[in-house]
């Protein structure tokens, strides 16, 4: 189901899916892994231990440090999977060693929030 593996890894877990892009800086609390942007569709949820699926990353280049920090603080997702991978998410996951995938478009559409899936 993956079109491309950006950062290697094998995971099984519960999907946390967003329909909105994520600006990691300002959207996620790096200490708790909670989504703190009130306008975001995942507001109030935590990304910890999920398979985080979202269209793509946007915004601040420093979001890469947020991705690294959530891993260091043990609140990171098990893996991330996107439609498109931008430089911030790719480089953040590479340094933090969080498995990262680009999904086939129809697979991306099929996966629902709460599904139990395996990647890698």
């Amino acid at each position: 189901m993956t079109q491309k593996i950006i950062v290697q890894g094998k995971v099984t877990g519960k999907v946390l899916k967003s329909n909105q892009p994520i600006n990691f800086l300002g959207t996620i609390d790096k200490k708790t892994g909670e989504i703190i942007d009130k306008k975001h569709d995942l507001y109030g949820k935590t990304i910890k231990d999920s398979i985080l699926i979202f269209p793509n990353g946007i915004g601040s280049s420093v979001g890469a440090y947020t991705i690294y920090s959530i891993k260091s603080n043990n609140v990171s997702p098990l893996a991330m999977a996107c439609q498109k991978v931008d430089l911030t998410v790719a480089s953040g996951c590479a340094l933090a060693n969080i498995p990262l995938f680009i999904l086939e478009p129809d697979e991306y559409d099929k996966i629902k929030d709460g599904d139990e899936i395996s990647l890698g």
């Binding site: 491309k4 593996i5 950006i6 950062v7 892009p21 600006n23 800086l25 300002g26 959207t27 790096k30 200490k31 703190i36 942007d37 306008k39 793509n56 990353g57 946007i58 915004g59 601040s60 280049s61 420093v62 979001g63 890469a64 440090y65 947020t66 690294y68 920090s69 891993k71 260091s72 603080n73 991978v85 931008d86 430089l87 911030t88 998410v89 790719a90 480089s91 953040g92 996951c93 590479a94 340094l95 990262l100 680009i102």
Partner: protein, 384 residues
């Protein structure tokens, strides 16, 4: 992405851990963006300097990395959290100052050019057109591509850092093909810098990597910077061209209604407890201009102006810094509005600014309300 034999060795750790980390980052970026190879770059500008944004994990990572890593090309750096000349006025705790100092030292050890600025393009001469650079600060990347005619992707803090260490970047995206896939028609009459900020925020949301804008002639520096900064905040678009005859396949209008939508998303207050100018930091031209606008006037509330240290020194020797201070402005260098630890809920509920980028982060990261208005209105409403 194809690597040469030497590059492959570095990725496998044969040339030390810091180069291995840098190659691991660029390999992932190259894979994600379908790069074929790495190309030499001539200048890197890294973000991730402010302790407020990178935190303890970032501070520790940089302290470790700087034990062995050295920058291979000229590397300028983004603002940090405060100006050491006035930090005692803002009540930051000792831990913040210690960690921030450690971050600054790590970058110094790796060989930074100590710009501590988000507008390196106003401090240093730009190289000739089509030169490859690697700029992480989004407003600077968009400015470099759109106005400086340089070549960079909208780099991340880590991709620019890795490129600074290796001296190369993946040849992909805007480096390879920067033709706009969308054209936005500017329909709003009599635009000012705030209008262009709102346009940029809209463009960042709807456009892909590069966008054409029609119906706009020449932009002054303030409008250009406002457009670059807001576009970088809302999306992944890294370049704009002013072009009335673009053959981009997709066409979109930016009219009064669209503008109002963006304004309503970011403007949450009718007035502010404090005024901030700068995000991006102000350049000399804007400081000179502001000094003229403030002649014989004085701010009725606290007004913070963020500018690079080199620009503040120039403005001081030319007399403009003194004029701005006489009008009640506080000049701060080495730091900026965006993700500042200096303006918090402890002291204020709301901020007045003309910066869309500043507004976004005040709202989302500092948890403050924002009153958005153009500089001309800030001067007429907030000074007497």
């Amino acid at each position: 992405m194809e690597l040469t034999r030497e590059e492959e060795k570095s990725l496998n750790g044969e040339h030390g851990e810091s180069l291995q980390i840098a190659y691991r980052i660029l390999s992932a970026v190259g894979e994600a963006t379908d790069a074929e190879r790495l190309v030499p770059i001539h200048w890197a500008h890294v973000s991730g300097v402010n302790y407020n944004t990178i935190g303890d994990a970032g501070e520790e990572f940089l302290a470790n990395l700087s034990k062995n890593a050295k920058f291979k090309v000229r590397t300028t750096v983004n603002p940090m959290g405060y100006d050491k000349d006035s930090v005692e006025k803002f009540g930051l705790d000792e831990n913040f100052i210690q960690k921030q100092e450690s971050i600054r030292k790590s970058y110094a050890k790796m060989g930074m050019t100590p710009s501590l600025s988000c507008i390196p393009y106003e401090i240093y001469d730009l190289p000739r057109e089509d030169t490859h650079v690697s700029f992480a600060e989004s407003n600077a990347a968009i400015y470099a591509n759109s106005i400086g005619h340089l070549k960079t992707n909208k780099e991340s803090a880590f991709s620019a850092l890795a490129s600074a260490i290796i001296g190369k970047s993946p040849y992909s995206d805007l480096r390879k093909d920067d033709s706009p896939s969308m054209s936005i028609s500017m329909k709003v009459q009599d635009p000012n810098e705030l209008t262009f900020g709102l346009l940029g925020y809209f463009a960042g949301k709807v456009a892909d990597k590069s966008v054409a804008i029609s119906g706009v002639k020449n932009l002054d520096k303030r409008c250009n910077k406002s457009l670059c900064a807001s576009m970088g905040t809302s999306g992944s678009c890294g370049k704009f061209v002013l072009d009335d005859n673009s053959n981009a396949s997709e066409k979109v209008d930016f009219d009064e209604k669209e503008m109002q939508n963006v304004f309503d998303e970011l403007n949450t207050a009718d007035s502010g407890d404090l005024v901030t100018l700068g995000s991006p930091q102000l350049g000399l031209e804007e400081m000179t201009d502001l000094a003229a606008m403030l002649k014989g006037r004085s701010f009725k509330k606290r007004c913070l102006i963020f500018c690079p240290r080199a620009i503040q020194e120039q403005a001081r020797s030319l007399g403009y810094a003194g004029q701005l201070e006489s009008a009640g402005c506080e000049l701060l260098s080495d730091c900026c509005t965006c993700l500042t630890p200096l303006v918090t809920k402890k002291d204020v509920d709301s901020v007045t600014t003309n910066s869309i980028k500043g507004a976004y982060y005040f709202k989302n990261s500092n948890g403050l309300d924002v009153n958005l208005k153009p500089l001309s209105e800030i001067v007429s409403d907030e000074t007497s």
